[in-house]
C-alpha cells in the first residue's frame, strides 16, 4: 500500500509542477492546491498505513493508527486553505488591475 501511495503522491507532484510551470495564474493556483494534496498524502503515507482502528480511545482496540501525522496534516490543511484563499484573491486582484492573467504579459517591460 505504501508503495502504491508513494507513486500516487509522485503523480500529484508531477502534475502540480507541470501546472505551476504554465503561464496562467489560474493554473498556478490549481497547481498549488494539488501540490498541497500531495504533501498531505505524503505525510500520511510516511507515517505508515497499517491497519488499525481510528485514533479514538473509545474503540478499545489493540492497535490504533498513528495520530501524530493526522494532527500534523490537519494543521497543514488549514494553513494551505488560508494560503489558497489569499493567493486566489491576489490573482483576482492582479487580473482586475492588469486585465490579464498571462504571467508573460505581467512581466513588465522587456528591456529590464
Amino acid at each position: 500500500m505504501e508503495i502504491l501511495m508513494s507513486i500516487t503522491v509522485g503523480v500529484l507532484f508531477m502534475v502540480a509542477t507541470y501546472l505551476m510551470l504554465s503561464r496562467s495564474i489560474f493554473r498556478i493556483v490549481m497547481g498549488l492546491v494539488i501540490i498541497s494534496h500531495g504533501a498531505h498524502l505524503l505525510i500520511l503515507t510516511m507515517g505508515g498505513l497499517q491497519n488499525g482502528m481510528p485514533p479514538l480511545l473509545g474503540q478499545e482496540a489493540a492497535n490504533y493508527t498513528d495520530p501524530l501525522p493526522q494532527a500534523l496534516i490537519l494543521t497543514a490543511i488549514v494553513i494551505s486553505f488560508g494560503l489558497t484563499a489569499f493567493v486566489l484573491v491576489l490573482a483576482y486582484r492582479t487580473y482586475d488591475a492588469h486585465k490579464t492573467d498571462d504571467l508573460d504579459q505581467l512581466r513588465g517591460t522587456s528591456d529590464e
Binding site: 500500500m1 505504501e2 508503495i3 502504491l4 508513494s6 500516487t8 503522491v9 509522485g10 503523480v11 500529484l12 507532484f13 502534475v15 509542477t17 507541470y18 505551476m20 510551470l21 504554465s22 496562467s24 489560474f26 492546491v33 494539488i34 494534496h37 500531495g38 498524502l41 505524503l42 500520511l44 503515507t45 507515517g47 505508515g48 498505513l49 488499525g52 485514533p55 480511545l57 473509545g58 490504533y64 493508527t65 498513528d66 493526522q70 494532527a71 496534516i73 490537519l74 494543521t75 490543511i77 488549514v78 494553513i79 486553505f81 488560508g82 494560503l83 489569499f86 486566489l88 484573491v89 483576482y92 486582484r93 487580473y95 488591475a97 486585465k99 492573467d101 504571467l103 513588465g108 529590464e112
Partner: protein, 806 residues
C-alpha cells in the same frame, strides 16, 4: 599606547580639525596649520634616528586591538622604517609648504585637500611602522583610498575620476592579493607579526604554500609600486594636483611596494623564484618605463613613466640583492649587499630629485598654464630659478656627476654587472641580459631627461602659446624644490652623510642575520671610484643619449613615438567594459522576469541535487517489510485518483478544471476515510467545499477570463521537469520509508495513545494532540488563518485612489 603610536595617529586627529580651521579661520591658508605637524614629526623621527636606529636599535611597542584574533597594534621602528618615516614626513612638510602657494585659498576646497593629504600621511606612516600584518593591510588600503580621493580632487573632471577609479581598482586588487598572502603566512606560522614571521622564515620556506604566499605578497607590492604590467594607473594618476603627484606618486606611496619587498626579503628571499620575479619584473619595468617616457608629450607624463622606470630600477636591485641571502657565507655575498645598499641609496635619491622635478613642473604648469612640451620652450631666462632646479633634478635623474643620481647609477651598473656573476639559478645563461637591459634603459633615461629639460627651457620663447603672462614663481613656491635640490647636491658630494645613519641600519633590517658577531656592512660610498667598466658604461649612455637627442627629428616620425598611450591601456579598458557587458549579459540571460523560468531553475536544481545525493550514497531502496496490504477497493480508488489528477493539465475549460480539482479534493477526503482518519476526512470535505466555492466566486468575478482559455503550451521541457520532480518525490518517499522500517525507528505516538486520557482527559487522540499536547501549533495556525482573512479583506477593500494602482 606609546608616543610612537600617537605619532601615527596624529595626522588623522589633525584631519578632524581641518574643516574647522578652514571654516572659522578663513584668513589664514589652511595649509599653515597642517604644515606644523609633518615638521614636528620629522623632528621626532630625526631624534629617534639619531638616538636609536642609527645605533642599530629598534623601538617596539604594542597595544591590543583585537587580541582574540591576534591583531595587535604593534609599532616597530628600525632602520628601514625610519628611512621611510623621514621621507614621508620630510617630503610631506615640503609638499605642504609647496601646496600652500600652489593651491589658491579662494578657489580651491582646501579642507578636502588637507584632510585627504593628512589621511594619506597617517596611513603611510602606519604602513611602514606597523609590525602586525593586518594593521599594515588596514593602513595599506587607507593609502589606496586617500590616494584615489586625492587623484579625484578636481572631481568635476572626467579624467580625474577615471584616473582615481583606475588606481583604486588596481591597487585594491593588489591589496586583496597581499591580504591573501598574509593569511597564508599566518596559517603557516600562526602569527601576524612580521618580525616573528622573519624569525620563523625556515618554517615558511619549508611550507608548500611558500610560492602562493610569495606571489600574493608580491602582487600587492607590484601593484602599489606600479611595476609592469600594473604600472598603467600611475600615468593616469597625474590628473591629481601637482603637490599630490610629487608626494604620493613619486616619493612615498609608490615606494610602499618597495618597502613591502624589502621588508619581506628576509622571509621569502634566497630562492630562485623570488630572485627572478623581483629582478626580472623590476628590469622590465625599468626598460618599459624609460621607453614610454620618451614618447610622452606631457611633462607630468614623462615624470610618471620616469617614476615607473626608476621604481623598476630599485626593484631590480632589491631582487639582485636577495642573492646575498642565498650565498649566506663567503666573500661574494658582500657584492650582493652592495645591490641592497644601492637600492636604499637610490630610493632616497629618487625621492629628492623626483620631488623637486615634480614641483618644478608644477611651477611651470602654474605659471604658464600648460605642460605640453610642444608649446613650451625658451623659459630659461624667464624662469631662472625653476630652470636651475630642473637642470639639477634632470641631471641627477640622468646620472650625471656630481649629483647623487650619478652615484646611484654607477652603483646600479655595478650591481647589474655583479648579478651576471651569480653562479646559480641559470644566471650563466641569462645573466648577460641584466647589464644590457639596464644599460639600454639608462640611454632612454638620459634621452627623456634631455627632452624634459631642453624642450622646456631652450629654444625660442613664444608668448602666443600661453594664455597668461609668464613669469617666475613666487618665492614660497620655490622654497621646497630648492631644499630638495640642495639635498640632491649634498647627497651627491657627501654621500657618506647617509651611509651610517640611514643606509646601514636599513640594510640591517633587510638582511638580518647576515652580519653576525659585530661585523658591519661596508657602506662607504664615493663619488669617484676609478676608471671602472661602470664609468665607461655611463660615458656610453651619455654619448648615445645625446646622439639620439640630436637626431630626434629623424626618429620622431616613427609610429612608436607618436603613440603616446601605453599599449596596456586598451587591454585594461577593454577588460573593464567586457566585465560590465559580460555580467549584464549573464544577468539578462538568467533573470528573465518569468516566474516559469525561476520555477524551472529551482525544480531542476532540486531534482539534480537530490538525484546526485541519492546516487552518491546509493540510497535507492524499496520497502519490503512491514508494508500494509492493499485491499481490492483501493486499487479502484487509486486508479480513479491518478486518472483525475493526470487529466487536469489537459483540460482547457476552466469550469471543468475547478470541478475536477474539487473532485480531487473529495477523493483525498475518501483516502482519509480509508486510512482511518475521521477528523482529517471531515476537515478535508469542508475545506474542499469552501475552496471550490471560492474558486467559483473568483471565476464569477472574472468575466473576461472565460474567453481567454488559452491552451497551455505543451512544452517538452516542462513535462520532463515535472516528471523528474514526481519521480524524485516517489523515490525519496520510498527510500525514506524503507530506511525507517529497516532501522526499526519507532513512532513516538505510543505515548499519545497511552496518555491521551490519563493526562488530557480526551478520547479523540488527534484533537488532544492539536489542543493539548501540541497546542502551540494550533494557536499559530489560527493566526495564519486570521492573517489570511485580513489579507483577503485588505486586497479587496483597500485600493489606491488618485495614483496608478500597481
Amino acid at each position: 599606547m606609546t608616543f610612537l603610536h600617537w605619532a601615527i595617529i596624529s595626522p588623522f586627529l589633525l584631519a578632524i580639525l581641518i574643516p574647522f580651521f578652514y571654516r572659522y579661520i578663513p584668513k589664514i591658508h589652511t595649509g599653515w596649520f597642517v604644515f606644523i605637524l609633518p615638521l614636528a614629526l620629522f623632528g621626532y623621527f630625526m631624534q629617534q634616528m639619531l638616538q636609536t636606529t642609527s645605533q642599530g636599535g629598534v623601538v617596539e611597542a604594542s597595544a591590543p586591538w583585537v587580541p582574540s584574533l591576534q591583531i595587535f597594534y604593534t609599532v616597530y621602528l628600525d632602520g628601514l622604517s625610519i628611512l621611510f618615516a623621514l621621507l614621508i614626513t620630510g617630503i610631506g612638510a615640503l609638499v605642504v609648504l609647496y601646496s600652500i602657494y600652489y593651491l589658491d585659498k579662494k578657489k580651491e576646497a582646501l579642507n578636502n585637500f588637507y584632510v585627504y593629504l593628512l589621511m594619506f600621511m597617517g596611513a603611510m606612516l602606519g604602513v611602514i611602522i606597523s609590525d602586525n600584518m593586518i594593521v599594515l593591510y588596514v593602513f595599506w588600503e587607507l593609502t589606496s583610498l586617500s590616494s584615489a580621493l586625492l587623484i579625484s580632487y578636481w572631481f568635476q573632471r572626467d579624467k580625474s575620476i577615471y584616473g582615481a577609479q583606475k588606481s583604486m581598482l588596481i591597487t585594491v586588487f593588489g591589496g586583496f592579493a597581499m591580504l591573501g598572502g598574509f593569511a597564508i603566512l599566518y596559517s603557516i606560522t600562526g602569527t601576524f607579526s612580521i618580525q616573528e614571521t622573519i624569525a620563523s622564515a625556515d618554517l615558511v620556506m619549508a611550507s608548500n604554500l611558500f610560492i602562493p604566499a610569495m606571489i600574493l605578497v608580491l602582487l600587492g607590492a607590484f601593484t602599489k609600486s606600479a611595476q609592469f604590467p600594473f604600472h598603467i594607473w600611475l600615468p593616469d594618476a597625474m590628473e591629481a594636483p601637482t603637490p599630490v603627484s610629487a608626494y604620493l606618486h613619486s616619493a612615498t606611496m609608490v615606494k610602499a611596494g618597495l618597502y613591502l619587498v624589502a621588508r619581506f626579503t628576509p622571509v621569502f628571499a634566497g630562492v630562485p623564484e623570488w630572485f627572478w620575479i623581483v629582478s626580472g619584473v623590476g628590469l622590465f619595468t625599468l626598460f618599459w618605463g624609460s621607453l614610454s617616457a620618451v614618447r610622452q608629450k606631457d611633462l607630468k607624463g614623462i615624470l610618471a613613466f620616469s617614476t615607473i622606470s626608476q621604481l623598476g630600477l630599485i626593484m631590480s636591485l632589491l631582487g639582485v640583492g636577495s642573492a646575498s641571502l642565498y650565498f649566506n657565507d663567503g666573500v661574494e655575498n658582500a657584492l650582493y649587499h652592495a645591490a641592497i645598499m644601492t637600492a636604499i641609496f637610490h630610493l632616497i635619491n629618487h625621492a629628492t630629485f623626483k620631488g623637486s622635478l615634480f614641483m618644478a613642473i608644477g611651477i611651470i604648469d602654474h605659471e604658464t598654464g600648460t605642460r605640453d612640451i610642444n608649446r613650451l620652450g625658451g623659459l630659461m631666462t624667464i624662469m631662472p630659478v625653476t630652470f636651475t632646479i630642473t637642470l639639477i633634478g634632470a641631471a641627477s635623474m640622468a646620472g650625471i656627476p656630481p649629483f647623487n643620481g650619478f652615484i646611484s647609477k654607477e652603483m646600479f651598473f655595478t650591481g647589474m654587472l655583479e648579478a651576471m656573476e651569480i653562479s646559480a639559478w641559470n644566471m650563466q645563461t641569462f645573466g648577460i641580459l641584466f647589464p644590457v637591459i639596464a644599460w639600454v634603459a639608462s640611454i632612454f633615461t638620459f634621452l627623456y631627461c634631455l627632452i624634459l629639460f631642453f624642450k622646456t627651457f631652450t629654444g625660442k620663447f613664444k608668448p602666443e602659446n600661453f594664455d597668461k603672462h609668464v613669469h617666475e614663481a613666487p618665492i614660497g613656491m620655490l622654497i621646497s624644490p630648492i631644499i630638495l635640490v640642495v639635498l640632491v647636491i649634498v647627497f651627491g658630494l657627501f654621500p657618506n652623510l647617509l651611509a651610517y645613519s640611514l643606509i646601514e641600519p636599513a640594510m640591517q633590517s633587510i638582511l638580518p642575520g647576515v652580519m653576525t658577531g659585530g661585523e658591519r656592512f661596508y657602506v662607504d660610498i664615493y663619488l669617484w671610484h676609478g676608471f671602472e667598466l661602470e664609468l665607461f658604461m655611463t660615458m656610453g649612455v651619455i654619448a648615445l643619449g645625446t646622439l639620439l637627442f640630436i637626431y630626434m627629428k629623424k626618429w620622431s616620425s616613427l609610429a612608436i613615438y607618436k603613440k603616446e598611450s601605453d599599449i596596456l591601456n586598451p587591454l585594461y579598458d577593454g577588460s573593464l567594459s567586457a566585465l560590465v557587458t559580460g555580467s549584464q549579459k549573464i544577468t539578462r540571460a538568467q533573470i528573465t522576469g518569468r516566474l516559469r523560468d525561476y520555477l524551472a531553475y529551482m525544480s531542476i536544481f532540486i531534482v539534480l541535487l537530490l538525484a546526485y545525493t541519492m546516487f552518491r550514497y546509493d540510497a535507492f531502496s524499496m520497502p519490503t517489510e512491514n508494508i500494509s496490504p492493499i485491499p481490492g477497493y483501493m486499487w479502484v480508488l487509486v486508479l480513479l485518483f491518478i486518472l483525475t489528477t493526470v487529466v487536469v493539465p489537459f483540460i482547457n475549460d476552466r469550469m471543468a478544471v475547478i470541478i475536477i480539482v474539487g473532485a480531487l479534493g473529495f477523493l483525498v477526503a475518501i483516502f482519509f476515510v480509508a486510512f482511518r482518519a475521521p477528523d482529517l476526512a471531515l476537515t478535508q470535505f469542508l475545506i474542499e467545499t469552501v475552496v471550490v466555492v471560492l474558486f467559483l466566486l473568483a471565476f464569477k468575478h472574472l468575466p473576461n477570463l472565460k474567453k481567454e482559455r488559452t491552451k497551455p503550451r505543451i512544452q517538452v521541457t516542462n513535462a520532463i521537469i515535472s516528471v523528474g520532480v514526481g519521480v524524485m518525490v516517489t523515490l525519496i518517499g520510498l527510500s525514506s520509508y524503507a530506511f525507517r522500517q529497516e532501522n526499526g525507528l519507532e513512532s513516538i505516538s505510543q505515548y499519545f495513545i497511552d496518555n491521551s486520557y490519563e493526562l488530557a482527559a480526551g478520547e479523540n487522540m488527534v484533537n488532544v494532540i492539536l489542543v493539548d499536547f501540541r497546542g502551540l501549533d494550533t494557536i499559530l495556525e489560527v493566526l495564519v488563518l486570521a492573517i489570511a482573512a485580513l489579507g483577503v479583506i485588505t486586497l479587496i477593500k483597500l485600493r489606491m485612489t488618485g495614483r496608478e494602482d500597481v
